[in-house]
Symmetry: C2
Subunit: 505 residues, 2 copies
């Protein structure tokens, strides 16, 4: 009879092998966004489809199922919340999910989404849905097939997709917390609109030479703690972070000479993701303990560095003199207060990734609504643009002038990432919980930022979030770290404190 | 009973699947040289080792062996030199070779050579063999193990390695043709040295701003026919060309502000390789008919574009005005004749990839000698630097001032590419054969180049070499295309014609 330890070792080896092959696909996926010549798209789709199929084969190997069963039925005790317990729990989850998906569907999803992303890029450039539409239809059909294969309760197929990104989260719970949050945000947004205060937005659209932006934002990423010996940053149509594996985490951003916040806060955002990846235990690579808890928790890290840190007054007290020296043409005649107000301007706008902290979550709620309709079949892909624009008008009071500023702006649907968007708003709420607790534990964070000290917060996150991997599910992690359950309150409190002051509410 | 066509279709599917997985490793290998953060080296080694093992598994699948046997014993006739005949012949070759190598050795080779390349980069930077030496020992030991596993006749283990790059070539034949070539080159080199003519080398080491070099060499690559919609060029420590798959071929080069020829002719050279890859039949991807004949034939393409075209007077008649406009500081006061003489300067030098057309092959012969000794065990890796320097002194009359200009200059040994070097000199000889025939078929090539017309030569190569894939083995291809057998004569004739004129011999 094999001992618990022997069974566990074999399981871990199998999981690592699977993750290692999966990480090859990650690199090919990153390369597709950053380097792939147009002519190579079809071959890349074939490569990724093969890797997806082979990885699926490894992930659903019968031996993993046997090992899991034997370990679950083992007489030796398993300590609660131990790495063994967590790995067993999460490996079971992943195995059960994977075995429900036929290899053919996995390969087809990979092939279609690779080509679909190329069509999306072309469509987005032309700001015309037509080229992308047939691909979107295929993606939606495949995601509906996936939901059916996974299974769901209560007639909510969206649950089956959401669960892939935010394990154990339920659509109905997200709807509930979003509804409360939405009321608060709409109220705050209205007060800001009526405050009569208008920052000078010309400040952030002056000329910021791209080479200088590159250097400046890279330096900021280094300052907050992203390690470029174990990572890099490149240009891509859509900003993202890809943790290829231990020692190799890659960020992307995009530069616009006449829009400073896009690349700068985008870089801080992706650095936040990257620092999570870099903070995972490399020895646990391939096992749940070496993986991020959930996408919501991942997003809590990116949003915290982007907003709670990067858009704070304290951060700019430290960095603004250097910003002025780097962009003299744009900033030499601008006061810190006016700059701070401009980068914290709140107003309805079209592009989610460039939205302010208050309206951002409304962008998410719009996508969350549309996705549910697409997956339930109540909304046809050909009607997406119309319904997007109508809902946008309802939420924001403005209508996107074209598809590239509307339903074509995000890569997610082309990449098959349906069920993913809600994790962004969950992440904002998690971030507020964590930040509040970090401040309780570490004292005045603003004072530290003003001195250029980001190490304490980073270390706190390393210890409390990153190094724990999937030890706890997201909801439990928030409990363990902060003693509280997820709520909209810390986020609303944080936003109120900041924007009441800026807008004199 | 399955028909010949059915068996063949199944074989082709298996070969394509194997090549598709192999092409994922190609991308990871390219990325390792161009983008990998230092911290990611170990993970990359693990990834490549896994892919090598899995690819080996596919390549040695018993089913391939069965299909080959059934096809070989099929009653239906097989037309000589048909795609079926060629694919069958070469798939058998590859299968027999692969099945002789245990998966463990393949994985270990991949893992060791990935890490070894990182150590080589570090050693080369410091110009100190120490860090690389333990890796070199491992690589040599593994290559000796490989030679034993493959098997060889007449006590020449080097044959087993050479055969991997130049199928069917024998060490003894290479020794013979190299010996004759060497005598001719030594004689030509001595005459040039004694001619008293010395081009003004300061011309090519003036300031050539790197951004301008990038644009200029890219434009030249485009002009001769490299398709950037199906490829790209990046910076790497060592210039190379990687054909990832249909529509995706990647070149690398390196820039030095004060050495114009390095990046420029390097780019033409790699473009020559790239145009071969881009000229392969995409529908035949993964089968021998969709693959280059041999590395020697590959090198004939790169050297032809680099030297017969790129270093010709006619080429610069066309391009020199633009070169002067691009690099006014360096070239405005330099005549075409003086520039032409400078880029064709012949003299002993340390770096192979920057060597002139006459002494280049002596660099190869040195490596060919040392490799045979390393593989036979007559030379220990710790003695490589000493023996390199002694042999260099013997061949060139000068001694490398340090290891980075000596035995550490090439990536090949760190990458496990032993048996590869001789294909470079074979390539030079093949190139001269092909160029002579192209001129017979196409008329005055110089006149075409002077008008900026490179299409006829490219199309000739597409038709006569590229699109044929592995239809014929290298030696036979030369016969089929030119009616001649491999000889040193066309190359010597070509060099004599050119350098007699330049040096007034």
């Amino acid at each position: 009879m094999a001992t618990q330890q022997e069974l566990y070792n074999e399981l871990v080896e199998q999981l690592k092998q699977t993750a290692l092959l999966g990480s090859c696909a990650s690199l090919l996926g990153w390369d597709e966004q950053t380097n792939l010549p147009p002519g190579g798209a079809e071959h890349r789709a074939n490569q990724l489809s093969l890797l997806a199929g082979m990885t699926h084969e490894l992930a659903t190997d019968k031996r993993i199922g046997e090992l899991l069963s034997e370990l679950e039925n083992c007489n030796e005790p398993i300590e609660a919340n131990s790495p063994l317990a967590a790995n067993l729990r999460e490996a079971r989850r992943a195995y059960d999910r994977a075995t429900k998906l036929p290899r053919k569907l996995v390969e087809e999803m990979s092939r279609v989404t690779t080509l679909s992303q190329q069509a999306w890029i072309a469509s987005r450039k032309k700001s015309d849905l037509q080229e992308f539409l047939p691909w979107l239809k295929q993606v939606i059909a495949l995601k509906r097939e996936e939901a059916e294969a996974i299974g769901y309760e209560g007639g909510v197929p969206y649950d089956a997709l959401l669960d892939d990104y935010e394990p154990a989260a339920k659509t109905v719970d997200v709807q509930t917390v979003f509804a409360t949050l939405r009321d608060e945000l709409v109220q705050l947004n209205a007060e800001i609109r009526d405050s009569g205060k208008q920052p000078d937005l010309s400040i952030i659209t002056r000329s910021y030479p791209i080479e200088a932006q590159k250097k400046f934002s890279r330096k900021a990423a280094e300052a907050i703690g992203f390690d470029f010996d174990r990572g890099r940053i490149d240009i891509a149509a859509h900003p993202f972070c890809s943790g290829i594996g231990p020692g190799d985490c890659r960020l992307t951003t995009r530069y616009d000479e006449h829009h400073f916040p896009g690349a700068f806060f985008g870089t801080l955002h992706e650095s936040g993701h990257g620092m999570y990846e870099q903070g995972l235990d490399p020895a646990a690579f391939g096992t749940p303990m070496g993986n991020a808890t959930s996408l919501g928790i991942h997003e809590s890290q990116s949003r915290m560095w982007e907003n709670s840190v990067g858009r704070s007054k304290a951060f700019w007290k430290h960095l603004y003199p250097e910003a002025q020296a780097t962009f003299p043409e744009a900033l030499s005649d601008v006061s810190l207060d006016n700059f701070y107000a401009a980068i914290n301007d709140v107003r309805p706008s079209f592009i989610r990734v460039e939205a302010d902290e208050v309206t951002y979550n409304l962008h998410i709620m719009l996508r969350f609504e549309l996705e549910q309709l697409l997956i339930s079949g109540e909304l046809e892909p050909e009607d997406v643009e119309t319904v997007w624009n109508e809902t946008f008008e309802k939420f924001f009071g403005i209508t996107p002038p074209d598809a590239s500023q509307g339903c074509l702006q995000d890569i997610h649907w082309s990449a098959g990432l349906l069920g993913y968007f809600p994790t962004y708003a969950l992440g904002n709420m998690y971030a507020a919980h964590f930040y509040q607790q970090a401040e309780t534990d570490l004292g005045d964070l603003d004072a530290q930022f003003a001195r250029g000290e980001f190490g304490p917060l980073k270390t706190w996150l390393n210890e409390n979030i990153h190094s724990r991997g999937k030890q706890y599910p997201a909801a439990e992690l928030v409990q363990v770290v902060t003693g509280e359950s997820l709520s909209h309150k810390p986020l609303v409190k944080q936003l109120r404190t900041k924007f009441n002051e800026i807008y004199g509410l």
